[in-house]
């Protein structure tokens, strides 16, 4: 239980009221449909105020910047990959997501943030690709060529929901630019997401209100951080809908789109 305006309310109600407060202030900023990650754009993130049971909804850059990165030039090399003076290619390092099972291990770039800087990423839905190998009409066996189908995944009866996140401030030592950056925590895919994100079988850690509250306000042990970070949202509370393959360029990227050749899920959901 918490207090809002002196009235005793549940944690769920408290989060709802505080979020409403911020939304009324910055509603346009929350009203954004599509974030693709690879454009490293700004997203709405719930960040707790230090020492208070309150939070701010702020904008952060999606793409966690490790502490050893000193400027945008180094960051660009990290994100895109680069050849060093000896001609050796260093592949890109993608830091959009941090694996819950790995992030606390000693030496991991996410460890400090997972311990001290946890946040919630506000989402109205997310996008994932399903990879399907069609069956040969001659042999009935799967063909080598893969067809990719995009899905928009939402939470039933939730306009917005929370994904577990961790954040890290970045200061460009050349220009003085400061920006907060974040990664979305991921967990093992549930039975629905296993069928959609069937290459990696991962999904974002979506948190119900009670766990979202604990994630940002709780003083958590490493074990509890890992437990919450690995939480697997109930697939029966999720909806998934195919969308156009050109959704990134669409004015309405979440508009349903049916594919006649798409096999049904192999599920007993």
């Amino acid at each position: 239980m918490c207090y809002y305006n002196g009235q005793k309310v549940s944690k769920t109600e408290f989060l709802k009221l505080l979020q409403l407060e911020k939304a009324l202030k910055d509603f346009d900023f929350l009203n954004k449909e599509l974030s693709t990650g690879f454009d490293y754009s700004l997203n709405a993130v719930v960040r707790p105020k230090e020492g208070e049971i309150d939070f701010d909804i702020v904008q952060m850059e999606w793409g966690f910047v490790p502490a050893y990165i000193r400027n945008r030039e180094q960051l660009g090399k990290m994100r895109l990959g680069y050849k060093d003076s000896a001609g050796k290619f260093h592949p890109p390092l993608t830091t959009l997501n941090s694996t819950a099972e790995e992030m606390l291990k000693p030496g991991k770039i996410y460890r400090e943030a997972a311990l001290k800087r946890r946040c919630l990423v506000l989402s109205s839905g997310f996008f994932e690709w399903r990879h399907v190998n069609p069956l040969s009409k001659k042999t009935g066996l799967p063909l080598k060529a893969t067809i990719n189908y995009p899905y928009h995944i939402t939470i039933k009866e939730h306009e917005y929901f929370y994904m577990a996140g961790i954040w890290q401030p970045f200061i460009d030592t050349q220009t003085g630019e400061t920006v907060d950056t974040f990664a979305i925590v991921t967990t093992k895919a549930n039975p629905l997401m296993e069928q959609i994100h069937n290459s990696k079988k991962r999904m974002p850690t979506i948190l119900p209100d009670e766990l979202a509250y604990e994630w940002i306000f709780g003083e958590l042990s490493e074990e509890r951080i890992q437990q919450i970070g690995s939480y697997q949202y109930d697939y029966r509370e999720m909806d998934a809908c195919t969308i156009s393959k050109e959704f990134r360029a669409s004015l309405d990227p979440t508009a349903p789109f049916a594919y006649e050749d798409l096999p049904a899920f192999e599920l007993s959901l």
Partner: protein, 77 residues
């Protein structure tokens, strides 16, 4: 998103213009007063499973309870 038409409530010498909006799936009411006080946003929330009116943001609880009740009565009519 505004929901429906604005409506008016009069109490004593005070006139209230009320609009209803859906924000984050919740219905809120914005009240503009005929006197000099700033507009007030109220919402019906729950305490121990029982509804009560509160202001958003926090800080105007007494007004929220008073004007929230008036809105509730008006909507029942």
């Amino acid at each position: 998103m505004q929901k429906g038409e604005a409506f008016k409530i009069e109490v004593n010498e005070l006139a209230l213009e009320v609009t209803s909006h859906i924000v984050n799936s919740s219905e809120i009411f914005r009240i503009v007063f005929s006197d000099t006080r700033p507009p007030l946003v109220v919402i019906e929330s729950l305490t121990n499973g029982r509804p009560f009116w509160t202001s958003v943001p926090q800080g105007r609880q007494k007004e929220a309870e008073f004007f929230g009740k008036l809105i509730e009565e008006k909507l029942k009519k």
